[in-house]
Amino acid sequence: MAQKSWMYSVLEAVQYEMQQDPSMIWIFELTPPVASNPGKPVINLETEFGRKRVTNTGIDENWMASCCLGASLAGSRAATYIPYQGALMPFQVIQNVAGKLRHMTGGRASMPVVWIIEMTGQTPGFAGQHSCYEEDSYYAHVPGVRTVIPSTPYDAKGMMHAALRSPDPVVYLYPAGLRTLTEEVPDEAYEVPLDKAAVRQEGNDLTIVSSGGGMPGVLEAAATLGGEGMSVEVIDLRALKEMDTETLVNSVAKTRHLLTVDQSYYTLGPGAEVIARVAENVEGAKYKRVAFPDAPPPASPEMFTWMRPDAEKIAGAARALV
């Protein structure tokens, strides 16, 4: 047990699973899988497991993802880290091959593969693909692939263990804006389920639902609103596919008010699905979405930070809704 960062927690899980399973492989792009953490040994998968198991090649994210899929079909567990710039390069093979293969083989294809897909840190000053945060929706629409998005180092490690042990293909989204978060994370292996939302804070007046990079702003807004006397229930989706409808519906049945928060674009962001699931099951509730507008992120920090949802905007929307 020690304070650990997101990526250190993840590589700790990967390192453990690779030590247990000598056939497991990891493919990386340019940046070697190395993590360090104060007071802990440096993890370097490339040197520990050797370049036959842990390798890079060229800038070809589709090959990286395909290679891991093929390894898993051959019975070897496999994982890769796709940098955010290439986040959608492997989309077609995940959507049209991996997502369909178990079903279309009548359950005969097994795919113990994890694609860690980085989402940007939404860095002001960048633009275009260097600040976008949109892959959550694309991957969450794909059937046959579990899409998860941990928002804390603890969940990151536990969900990585669960993902690597799952016979289902997993898109494991990594919101890089969370890279500086730290928390107490056990040294030993443990699992966090791939299909359960987490109630981060209980409350009665309003349910706020978000995920990944949206969570810190939501928790900050909830604290502000709590100080103003509003009782906010905060739900972290964690699993985008399959989404945990029950936790969402139970909460809004109680609070009658639902605010969703997406760092992703408004149209067909995860919040749309959250509202639709609740609206089908709860009558008479009130709804609002906070999201990035349907516009690519501009470079200028003035434009970008105004467009991106943050604690203040979330709190404002909550006050207007309740």
Binding site: I25, G70, L73, V93, H103, T105, G106, R108
Partner: protein, 406 residues
Amino acid sequence: MEHETTSKSAPVDQVDAPASESRRGFLQIAALTGAVAAVSGRRAWANGDIGFHAKDLSDDKLVDMYRTILKIRWHERTQADEMLTNPDYRGYNHFYAGQEAVATGVCAALRNDGPFEQIDLAYSSHRPSGHAIAKGVDIPKMCAENDFRATGLNGGYAAEMHLSDPDVGFIGADGMIGPSMPIASGSAFAFRARGSDQVAVVFGGDGTYATPHFHSALNNAKLLDLPLIYVLENNLYHQYAHYSYSCPHRDIADAAAAYGIPSRVVDGQDVLQVYNAAKDAVDRARAGGGPSFIEAKTYRYYNHWGAPGATAGELGAFGYDPLAITSFRPEREVRAWMQRDPVDICRNTLVDWDVLDETRAAEIETEVKAEIEAAFAWASEQPLCTPEDGLKNVFADGAVPARQFG
């Protein structure tokens, strides 16, 4: 558009067959010389450099190969006849007839049974029924699958375009042109990483050359020395477009050779030539020597999909396929290729090598026909699928909820 070939290297193992000429060029030669009619199955193997590995094989193994070619052939013919004559039959196929020697020769060089961690894997990608039979799937179950039966190879979820059977290392078809090549290279990566001597084979058409995946798969296979064998079945067309529309090479193998990958052109109608090339490639891959590329020049006797233009009881399709719209292949080209039939070439070789006599060869064909007929009969009696099962097998456990009723 006609393309000049830019490759300088001479094709290897080229025989006097109607090979990879551009369509027009080939037809001109055929018309001028009457050469095509003079090409017989017997002459094809009378070439000093074939039969190297194959000549060392046991009689049983050689007869097995002949039997496999016949199984594929009669599966095709029987199914085409079903489609043409039985209005209740619902199955379809991307027919492989004409190409049987490719799947058979390649799979004969592979390890097809044993534990999953030891057998070689074959990716079919597309046009899979021949690859499936050659790799050893249960034919009655495959027939049931093609007819959407609950007891089919894949429970009725797959049908012809997505057949698979991991038990015999047949990873199967995914129905896409391109993606299987990098995926297959990933299986090869896993073999090398875990110190296994398994190899991964991927079958792809001439259509796969132009896909971006061609570059990814070959480049990475070369860089990482992967035990991958890329078998490119050049049947001259993708749907109804001649491959010269998509490829500047006369021999696609030249493109693979540019990566430094050992690459060969073989006569895809001669199972033993295919076997020899595959055996070399498999031996190299198992020994850690990395990838190989085999371009098999071949031809399909039916149209792209289904049986348009075919007649019950007859082999091949000659009519115009409405799918072709403004472009189609000439009947004389089909007939020319049919004169170098893979069944005849194999049988003639085995007879010449005294492995079989004509009588025994004919008996085997009769046995195979009966086996295939029985497979179709068994399949037609299998139960249909349960609708609700469509919600299963999305993930390893459980079923997803129905959503179609609101």
